[in-house]
């Protein structure tokens, strides 16, 4: 292919992606969707009345959106998808709506042909390779980098518009987008909290990567954003962040009463595997947790999870720490629950966390690096010896 043909093709793709991610078109479309939504014609934003908003600081209805992975061909189609799910939550009275990790994945479909590729390719690497003809190379990071400027336009305008039209706080989940800091650019897994007026309240970045994401050369975030949901402290670590208790300690110290965790677990569902994330973190940090899961197959990856609203064991009706939970691990659902901030504060007052700073100060933070190195060396040593013990598996009880 000549250089001229390549340049023309690239220019054509740019024009097409700009058109498909047009924020004005998305914003107008969301307004149109609300106008034609009979359920919500007479609904008043839960945040519009200052008195009601003040009482909402004590009691909130929150929603976790369990979203099916798919691909869409345009920003307007993406807005329809997000609106449809958020509107169901708003119709059920939610004033805070949380979307899953990789909620922006459908936007891969903006790339011509990628929609079909996403459903049929056995892996993201294959999907990316199949898209070579239109400018992206083989690695998923190249496909995300190609799409990032357009995806961000469509993503941000969609969530801002839907939050504004429905008058709710929306925690957008996440998408792989580009960042620039101190002259350095790269890709990160990030999302935003949007206010009921459509403003960007906060941007958050995943701080602990999945091995797959590290292979894609994503960069972890360096801080945890805390923000206010109409006066209620909140934070939104992403998926793997909830594997680490440190994340929730930092969130709680920053004033979070609600920790929303967008999730995309790329593995077959097992309750115990899934239980390693938000649930224990909520117990040990005494916050409300909202877990929103991406489900379904996308480019050969099977995402599973049961979205839930989680609380300390003693505050849950069944004693299991669950206020509400999706009935399926592979289907679209909206999970809604009422959370009582006063009750949480009372619980904390009668069960205070009591730390031992002297103990912690005896073990310097450098131990983390040393432990990581030790496990890395163990892995490498064992791999080079190839004894096969790593197959693990069987439980042996004499």
């Amino acid at each position: 292919m000549s250089k001229l043909t390549m340049a023309l093709k690239k220019q054509g793709l740019h024009a097409l992606l700009m058109s498909r991610s047009n924020p004005d078109a998305i914003s107008k479309h969301v307004k149109w969707l609300l106008r034609h939504d009979a359920r919500l014609q007479h609904r008043v934003s839960p945040w519009s009345d200052p008195e009601a908003a003040a009482s909402r600081r004590q009691k909130l209805r929150v929603a976790a959106v369990q979203m099916r992975a798919c691909a869409v061909g345009s920003g307007k189609a993406y807005a329809e998808l997000v609106y449809r799910l958020a509107a169901r939550a708003a119709w059920e009275g939610a004033s805070v709506v949380v979307f899953p990790e990789y909620s922006g994945l459908p936007l891969l479909g903006l790339v011509p042909g990628a929609s079909k590729v996403a459903s049929s390719a056995p892996s993201l690497e294959d999907a990316s390779a199949m898209a070579r003809g239109i400018g992206a190379r083989g690695a998923p990071s190249d496909l995300f980098a190609l799409l990032a400027p357009y995806a961000q336009r469509a993503y941000v305008s969609t969530f801002a518009s839907v939050a504004r039209e429905l008058g709710v706080y929306m925690i957008s989940g996440s998408m792989i987008l580009s960042y620039e800091a101190g002259g350095v650019t790269g890709l990160q897994n990030m999302g935003w909290c949007f206010g009921p007026d459509g403003s960007r309240v906060a941007r958050y970045v995943k701080c602990h990567l999945m091995p797959m994401e590290a292979q894609w050369d994503l960069k972890p975030g360096t801080s945890l954003a805390a923000f206010s949901l109409g006066g209620v402290g909140a934070a939104a670590p992403i998926c793997m962040d909830a594997t680490y208790f440190e994340t929730f300690r930092v969130a709680r110290a920053a004033g979070a009463d609600i920790v929303a965790v967008p999730v995309a677990n790329p593995e077959p569902y097992n309750m115990w595997y899934a239980l390693r994330g938000i649930w224990p973190r909520v117990q040990e940090s005494q916050v409300f947790g909202i877990s929103s899961c991406l489900v379904g197959k996308f480019a050969g990856i099977e995402f599973t999870g049961r979205s839930a609203v989680v609380c300390p064991l003693e505050m849950s009706p069944g004693g299991d720490g669950i206020l509400a939970q999706a009935s399926s691990h592979d289907d679209e659902e909206i999970v809604v629950a009422d959370i009582d901030l006063d009750a949480l504060h009372e619980y904390r007052a009668s069960n205070p966390l009591r730390f031992n700073p002297k103990l912690y100060s005896n073990y310097p933070v450098g131990l983390y690096d040393r432990a990581r190195s030790a496990r890395r060396e163990e892995r490498q040593r064992h791999a080079s010896h190839g004894t096969g013990e790593d197959r693990g598996g069987g439980v042996r009880t004499p």
Binding site: C207, H208, P211, A214, P220, G221, T222, S223, L224, M240, Y244, F245, E246, T247, V250, R252, A253, A254, N270, W272, Y273, L275, R276, W279, P280, Q283, E284, L313, G319, G321, P352, L353, R354, F355, N356, P357, K358, L359, Y360, N362, Y363, V365, L367, Y368, D369, A371, R372, R375, E378, R379, H382, E389, D390, G392, G393, G394, V395, R396, T397, P398
Partner: protein
């Protein structure tokens, strides 16, 4: 292959009415476990001095508070008796050629009590001890003071750390142990009835998953000093090590008050889990350096044991 056969002995101390009965019963059960292959034997919280208080009557009203009962037990057991019982456990460890953690005990110290667990070696020595490092408000009101170190012991080629009671529900303890290279967390607990699987899951199970180590929870059962305990001792491993993904390697079921199990802890299983899901690889040390200490700026810090008593 580095593997350790670990035996858990869950007994109901209420079954023993005298110190002599307790000695005989426990010695026989330790020998049984050793004969069946256990090289590390662990008993639940508070059992180490249960024999010393067997048959003694608590003052009226003491039994109404579980923690007041523990403080009472610590106040009536003399230093001499503690040394006698330690000698008994050392002898049991030596004669059976096992490492033995015979449970824990509250012991009086300057200004209160500490909750302590000793580890006895096959050579008949106390190789070290651990102190409880986190306390509830109730424990503090009862006089409990906390330790400030988490020692690690080499047991048959595996590194072992000991957690006591409330420590299990503070993830900092498991993390600090794991950062020191611990492969096996031994947790001695005594949780009042009724049992809930969720409370247990929020404790050692999740610590094991977060750090990809083995967890041995020896949990007090039966009725003792006026309180009822739920038992349910369990051995945990990373979910990747179990066929059903539950992360339970062995357990004593609800119906059993006095029971035992032996589980083989094979380091190859840990390597497998760590290779499949390398949790430590993705620590965000910069974030922790900058922000984690903020979490501990609190006026609710636990009371700690005076420095000169920590090594006693």
């Amino acid at each position: 292959m580095v593997a350790l056969a670990c035996g858990v002995l869950q007994i109901d101390p209420g079954d023993y009415h005298t110190a002599h009965e307790y000695r005989l019963g426990v010695a026989a059960r330790i020998s049984d476990l050793a004969r069946d292959g256990a090289r590390l034997i662990v008993m639940p919280a508070h059992l180490a001095m249960a024999g010393a208080v067997a048959g003694r009557a608590m003052p009226p009203g003491t039994g109404r508070s579980r923690l007041a009962s523990l403080a009472w037990a610590a106040s009536v057991v003399t230093d001499r008796e503690i040394r006698d019982w330690q000698d008994f456990y050392s002898a049991a460890a030596m004669s059976n050629k096992v490492y033995l953690c015979p449970g824990s005990y509250w012991v009086q110290t300057n200004g209160g009590y500490v909750h302590r667990a000793d580890l006895h070696s096959p050579e008949g020595e106390i190789v070290g001890f651990a102190l409880q490092t986190h306390s509830s408000e109730e424990e503090e009101r009862a006089g409990l003071l906390c330790g400030t170190e988490l020692p690690v012991f080499d047991v048959g080629g595996l590194r072992v750390g000991i957690e006591l009671a409330t420590d299990v529900w503070y993830p900092e303890v498991g993390r600090l142990h794991a950062l020191q290279g611990v492969d096996v967390l031994v947790a001695l607990t005594a949780v009042p009835s009724p049992y809930t699987v969720w409370q247990q899951t929020a404790g050692l199970w999740q610590v094991v998953q977060a750090n990809q180590v083995f967890g041995i929870e020896a949990s007090l059962s039966g009725r003792w000093l006026g309180a009822r305990y739920h038992g349910r001792s369990r051995a945990f491993g990373p979910v990747e090590c179990t066929e059903d993904g539950r992360g339970v390697l062995a357990e004593i079921t609800a119906e059993s008050r006095s029971d035992r199990f032996i589980v083989t802890l094979d380091r190859g299983m840990l390597r497998h889990a760590r290779a499949v899901f390398p949790v430590f690889e993705h620590f965000n040390v910069g974030l922790y350096s900058e922000r984690l200490s903020d979490a501990y700026l609190t006026d609710r810090a636990v009371k700690i044991v005076p420095a000169d008593e920590r090594k006693a």
